[in-house]
């Protein structure tokens, strides 16, 4: 069995907002490649802040944070940009572009990476077929159900084959069955080698889809296990 590479490593990580509020304090964690990680905790525990630090949306105030080999405290704009190209992000509210078709939404990460149209078409068709939306390529997101919209968001996050997928409460607005289907896709991506980190409140999903559970409480690490 091969030794799993560390994808995210943090030591005594601290985040303080300009307002003075401490969002994270002394968090030490190591997340390996291909792991499926749940980030759980009450609202304001620091889950979303931690996820945002993983893609350089905010920078740590102190401690160290290495994401895909990039030191997030020292990284310049170009490093962060490069890191984001290898990171898929899924939001609770999907953040789909409603004036664009499903195809155009999913093609966006590839466009950003400079893929030519002829090259990206088969890839987008493939990922949309994977999430069961192969027949909705030219629909607009508003014509889709909440679950379908979230599947489009998953397709968009995975289309550039990222090493890390960050999901901020992706099942928050979905019914139980739809949420399980979304989890099925994310689990499958994890099995294919992507590191999936998902912030959630839906603890019942842990029974059907087990993974590593990292619990945060008031910005501090309160638990880490299965």
């Amino acid at each position: 069995m091969s030794v799993e590479q560390s994808q995210i490593n943090m030591q005594r990580l601290m985040l303080r907002y300009p307002s003075g509020k401490i969002a994270l304090s002394g968090v030490t964690l190591d997340i390996k490649q291909g792991q499926f990680v749940y980030l759980v905790g009450e609202s304001g525990a620091g889950k979303s802040s931690l996820l945002r630090m993983f893609y350089g949306g905010i920078r740590p105030s102190s401690g160290s944070l290495m994401v895909q080999g990039v030191d997030m405290r020292q990284a310049g704009e170009s490093k962060v940009r490069e890191l984001r190209r290898h990171t898929g992000i899924i939001f609770q509210d999907h953040k789909l572009l409603f004036s664009r078709t499903v195809f155009e939404n999913v093609a966006l990460p590839l466009r950003v990476q400079g893929w030519k149209t002829e090259r990206l078409i088969p890839r987008v068709r493939k990922v949309l077929a994977y999430v069961g939306l192969g027949d909705r390529l030219w629909s607009y997101p508003e014509a889709l159900s909440g679950g379908e919209q979230q599947r489009v968001a998953i397709a968009r996050a995975m289309t550039a084959k990222p090493a890390v997928i960050l999901a901020d409460e992706p099942t928050g607005n979905l019914d139980v069955d739809t949420a399980r289907r979304v989890l099925d896709y994310l689990m499958d991506l994890s099995r294919q080698g992507a590191t999936v980190i998902m912030a959630t409140h839906d603890l019942h999903l842990l029974e059907s889809h087990p993974g590593r559970v990292i619990q945060l409480h008031a910005g501090a690490l309160a638990g880490d296990g299965r």
Binding site: L15, R16, Y17, P18, R52, Y55, G57, I58, R59, P60, S61, V80, R81, E82, L83, R84, R85, T87, I89, K95, L97, R100, T101, F103, E104, A107, L108, P109, R111, V112, Q113, G114, T117, E118, I121, P122, R125, W138, A160
Partner: protein, 297 residues
Amino acid sequence: MNKKISAIPDNINLRLPGGFHLPPFGIQQVLALMIVCISLWAVGLIWLGMQGAGQWVGGWQDDIRIHVYLDAVDADKAAALKQGLEDIPQVAAVRQISAQEAAVWMQGWLSDVGMSQKELANHLPISFEITLLDEQAAFLFDDIRDVASRFGARVNEDEVNLAQAHHWIAQAKLLAWFASLILALAMALIISNTLRMTLLARADEIHLMRLMGAQEWFVRMPFILEGMVLGAGAGVAAWLLLWPVVIGTDEWLSTMQVDLSIAIMIFPLLLGGALVGTLGAAFATAKVSEGEVAVDE
């Protein structure tokens, strides 16, 4: 199979954002185009006016010469007058035009006068041609008139008036540049404001592209292109709108030997429009370059 999977249905117009893809034009852009077009039209009119004024003054406006005529045939007096004129500061040279040369010129000008060159030469005064160093120098023409009157000579006042018209045209040219710059700034701000609205409407798209690692040029380029196309389009429209003005005034202008060349206006209007559009877009997109959240270090 590959061919099938790469195909896009005929009725689908793929609109992928970012890079060199131009965003769709909406009512705001059309309104901005109209306003910028009117401003560029005004700039075009100003410079057509300058072109006409330049032609009216004559081709010699950059090489002004003043003529002084002495009726008395007195060589000593003529020499003293020449010396007096040469002593005036800002006079570069004084040349006495030979009677023969003046007669040739007169005969060419008055072809049906019916006199030989010799007869004409006998009727013409002694003429001096003054080349000026700086026709805008203070009291220059007063000094020339003073010297001429001391010797009973006359200054060609039409030439003096034209020389002074040149001075006024030079002043007007400065004002034209000033007005053009002010209008250019206003146009850039109008385009900038229009694009700011577009940017706000597409803030989610920009935010997403950045989250996906888009380079700054990739995010900004569609807006820069939009500004450039908007400005250039307004420039072409303004040029087309100049034609009715030129055609309508053609008859009146031809009485003043003014023949406006409107064709050459297309380049400054097109390039100027594109430039102000690009500047406006650069202003608009400069403010969307900030990062997400500032955090204590």
